[in-house]
Amino acid sequence: MAQVTLEGIRKVYPNGFQAVQTTSFTIQDGEFVVLVGPSGCGKSTLLRMIAGLEDITEGVLKIGDRVVNDVDPADRDIAMVFQNYALYPHMTVRKNIGYGLKNRGAPTAEIDAKVEDAAKMLNLSEYLDRKPAQLSGGQRQRVAMGRAVVRDPALFLFDEPLSNLDAKLRNQMRIEIKALQRRLRTTAVYVTHDQVEAMTMADRIIVLIQGRIEQIGTPSEIYHNPASTFVASFMGAPPMNLIEAEVDQQSVRINGFGNQIQAPQSFDGPVTLGIRPEDVEMDEQGQVVFHVDILEELGAHRLLHGRLANQPFSVMLGKDDAAQIGETKINLKPEALRLFDRKTGLRL
């Protein structure tokens, strides 16, 4: 177990492309950190630099107290789970899991015992003598996990490990991975482009865009107080509503709706107003008119998609709330309003 420190880490590819801009952050011992962002944001590059599969152009990387910039991946005391599992197809599950130990010269009896333990932990005991091709996707995923846990490393690295699974299995494995990490208390860095995975699994989320960190925070902080319109729209499904508005001292004015809404903070000028779809109330005496175009029935709740002041807008309602297509009046909860700079997109 270890703390991971990145000090001014930067990655520039030989062709001059800067994949990761100078970044610094610390991952606490035992923490589960998720790197999330759209494809090409540098999250995988960052993970691969921590793994040692990619050279670090600039900066210092520490695992524990040791600077590992030039340490071989095998000697960094890490384990990695890949998106396509990267199991050795010709080896049985037993050998797949034990390969890392064998290469480190562990005695056979010890390897056997550890492999059995890991297999038991992951419900793989009966499959130990099968080859990867004879396993289902979820089982292969577990073997990949087994290969990581069996070595009891200081740091787990996950590179989109659930992307190849179907939705149901993904939900199940998400919980299993999280539970396993909780139990082992091993520091973990997890890369994903799926904001649901990020929200549900992380102790802390790092949102990346175009090679730089946009925001670091707990899932709740990221969700409720996004640092920018990018984070607001990337995290959460459906995303936060972002509409153009003006703030005049204490009140918010959305095109054509007077000055009835109280601003969460004092400001003067044009803003982007953000509000989560669930922070809206249906109210016949409501301040603003919402035109519903589409009604999505999701069981536990309903989604209304439509327009507010001619800008796209969504509302999430409980399953018992009445809703219909057409014009309706709503209230925006003042405490849930977030203001962003219209030009830079940054939180005001």
């Binding site: 793994a51 040692g52 599969l53 095998a74 396509n84 990267a86 050795y88 197809p89 890392g100």
Partner: protein, 297 residues
Amino acid sequence: MAETTLDTPAETHRPRRIKWEAIGDHIILILGALLMMLPPLLALTTASHDAVTIHREGLQLTLGDDLGKNFRAAMFERGGFTQTVDGMLMLMNSFILGIGFAVGKIVISMMAAYAIVYFRLRFATLAFWVIFTTLLLPLEVRILPSYEAIQKLGLTNTYTGLIVPLIASATGTFFFRQFFMSVPEELAEAARIDGAGPWKFFVDILIPLSKTMIAAIFIIMFVFGWNQYLWPTLITTDESFFTLVRGIKQIVLSYTDSQIPEHGQALALAIVAMIPPVLVVVFFQNWFVKGLTESDK
């Protein structure tokens, strides 16, 4: 079971429709098979006659009485100028050449492909294309300089001289390169994190994964080595290095004027020379099919 109940007596009276297309197809296939079978069959039947009959009457279609005798003579009687070489020795030489070729080529081309694909070499692509263009230069083009080099190294009349100059293989390197490039990169990375160095990754992961490729290349290269004629003729003068392919020729050439060439023995030897490549193909074919159907993802 369901089939039999359907075959009620009423049905049996109806004459089966003759599928002329199927018959036509089969006639073509049978003719093709016969065409392929005929030369070896003819060799076998002719090999069962004595030299005089063959010399007088040409190829024989019937089985004669001398099959055993001819085979025995071809395999165990010493022949040639120096009377040092028999069929068994030639068979062994052919095996040494065939297996030496196949194994040597596989080892060399696998290592070359490994270097090209997995290591960040300067000019790796260029190196590959240089290797690849040698495909355009067959042995015959470089045979004189090759001979000179071997002769200066004092490797004439040795197995080393027979095998080593020919084991660099552009074909093999090309095939292994293509195969290695299809192996997911993550596998190499996972092995790296698992503490496998370049050598361990090669031996523990790549070679087992390449089994089917190795089998395929073994077939091609074994047959290629087995059938070598020009290079052994040039590089070995000592008859104890003769291969079967050369031995056949040697028998047909009559040594003294008074002798009729031993055609029967030559054909017997030709049949012996045919069997091992056929067996290799048949044996490795099983692996081939297995490897292709049991796809490792």
